[in-house]
Symmetry: C2
Subunit: 249 residues, 2 copies
Amino acid sequence: MTTATDPFQVMLRKFESRAPLDDEDRKALMALPFRQQRSEPSAYIVREGQRHERSCLILSGFAFRHKLTVDGARQIVSIHIPGDFIDLESALLNVADHNVQALSRCELAFIPRAALRDLILTRPRIAAAMWVDTLIDSSIFREWVVNVGRRDARSRIAHLLCEFARRLEVAGLAEEYDYELPMTQEQIADATGLTAVHVNRVLMALAREGLIARAKRHVRIPDWERLRRVAGFSEVYLHLDQGLDAEAA
Amino acid sequence: MTTATDPFQVMLRKFESRAPLDDEDRKALMALPFRQQRSEPSAYIVREGQRHERSCLILSGFAFRHKLTVDGARQIVSIHIPGDFIDLESALLNVADHNVQALSRCELAFIPRAALRDLILTRPRIAAAMWVDTLIDSSIFREWVVNVGRRDARSRIAHLLCEFARRLEVAGLAEEYDYELPMTQEQIADATGLTAVHVNRVLMALAREGLIARAKRHVRIPDWERLRRVAGFSEVYLHLDQGLDAEAA
DNA sequence: CGGCAAATTGAGCATTGTCAATGTCTGTGG
DNA sequence: CCACAGACATTGACAATGCTCAATTTGCCG
């Protein structure tokens, strides 16, 4: 593999697990034109209300989507990790309905809207794989609605920590139950619908009870089963085993 | 049009507005096999954890998606109106991650998973139109995360009322600013992350202030601009003007 | 060492929840 | 046509989870 196509390996692997692709598909995917770019923490990648001519794939680092209310409150609606297409919407919708910002330093690949549309309209299996990806995003949004709407602060934060643990582990980016959480407490607050002060208190409490062990941004979960129970976490909604099965081929 | 294909007219119209379809596409859509069925209020249409062999389209009536937390709290994550495909997920994901229940009496069309997959893999423009539909759903989920995470009770409920007004109006199901809201206060509570008691108090207050006029389930919005401001409502996230534009054809 | 962002802690408060009673409406059976 | 059941709405009194404001500490980086 050449240096140029290397960056797409993560994406290819993910899509292959979602729909059976043939050689043509693979070639078409890897041939996608893109522009690689580094983003510093908190740099904007997508801005609400704008039309974007390129979709964005995370090669390394983390990013998050968020929206602002009229009175300036911020709600983070999702967090994204390497291999995630953060902006497939841009290829199909006309206007961005939310912002995307880099969480840590990131390497990003920007792919022209036209090239993606072309791929979508000519290679149905690729389209299906990408679609499945966005459906899983949807499922995660639903779970976040539940998290923020119906769990208390303790469970909410525990749930966020559980979700992150599983997603990172599956992506091969962390030992399970032991990872770097690239978020400030204020960002955790904005993701859980709480205030930074309260997040701090809850994190302290969780640590005191031995449910998590923290050192700066590092999180370790000594007893997964116990934290899972506190969070009310069930990973069904992550659709980790998801693949379009044989019948689709 | 025959009686048999009639039910799909709403869907066809929606998809046509989303992507340019040709005659073949139209024919294929209308030729989808389906089983029509009536559901009574609160009847389950989809159950979390199950695999479903048919996807479901609402012909008339309303339905909602929800999830339950471990301790039995319920969160409604979306509300659906006639013409909505409530269960495209079933065609592409293996397991349902949430429940779907009838809100009012409904007429539903159940379409076999295999037929939908076939369509998706052979008619890219139809797939794109459906995909756009699910992306808009996603956008609405994101707004709900914001609603429940960062707005106070008053704004939350106002926002729900605004969203409903606009969606019904666009679907041609209500005069704008004047509609039948098919939800109990308990269901409104479960959709907004509040309790039924508090929803009642807020509704009474909104009525007292002249922001809404209620008679049972009937809602009228005397001053849209004022309610919109209270809600912090902006309809960008509904992507009402959305269509795949010419470049995609 | 100085500066700054992030984390931590305390004190008081308010939005929203809980519990419980009562009112209202609709449909049904007598 | 009326009485009653049951679901839903409304109201009151009180409690609590999480917020606000403000001060202080910690850790990081030049």
